[in-house]
Symmetry: C2
Subunit: 129 residues, 2 copies
């Protein structure tokens, strides 16, 4: 797994849209941007090109247009970004982040239930393998 280059905010933003659409053209990404975050066609084009150069996407030509596809699995990228974040702010320790999230971000009852369910699943898997 060759270390992937850094993925700055704006590029990540665009990459996530491609992931969400499975694959996309420049225009499709532009159209999928939130209204409060309009970006120029050229700008999106630039970010897609950079993502391609960095190895995150591949461009498949269809007629006169490039269609950008994920090259590395989104999940892997997400994992790496989360890892970086953990290192930056919590010395890589997961628990403090979880605790912070539990305390600071107010979860609804349903969300807490949801968490409980997943926690149960994990703990069962841990005790009887």
């Amino acid at each position: 797994m060759p270390e992937l280059p850094a993925l700055p905010r704006s590029e990540l933003e665009v990459a996530r849209i491609v992931w969400h659409l499975k694959h996309a053209t420049v225009r499709q990404v532009v159209d999928a941007l939130p209204v409060d975050r309009a970006l120029d066609f050229f700008t999106v084009q630039t970010y897609l090109r950079r993502l391609t150069d960095k190895g995150y996407l591949i461009a498949k030509r269809e007629g006169r247009t490039n269609v950008y596809h994920p090259k590395v699995k989104p999940d892997r990228v997400v994992r790496q970004v989360v890892r970086n974040f953990l290192d930056q702010l919590f010395d890589g320790h997961v628990l403090p982040l979880m605790q912070h999230l539990l305390q600071q971000e107010k979860l609804t009852e349903e969300q807490l239930d949801q968490l409980q369910t997943e926690l149960d699943a994990l703990r069962n898997k841990a005790t009887d393998p």
Copy 2:
């Protein structure tokens, strides 16, 4: 609460050391850096100055030396950084991040127990106020 300026990686790194030491001089920060992450005295000095300019720290002169103190509560900064991160990668949704952490980052039995405890506490608080 006046919006605080962005806090880039390196500055955050230095800020965290100051927080950890409660307050610190340039030299103390330099000495507190991890061995695998040595920074020049001048560099640390620059970051501390920038942090001060941005309003994160205040410099109190003691003799010939500046002692840098936190100006905004670390907790508040952490909260904002986490929020930003959530927005960038999970559209601001906490649950998906929690789920990701549960799945991808392997927690020990003890850590799971710890989480369970805190989750219980929260749910009790939610049901009987």
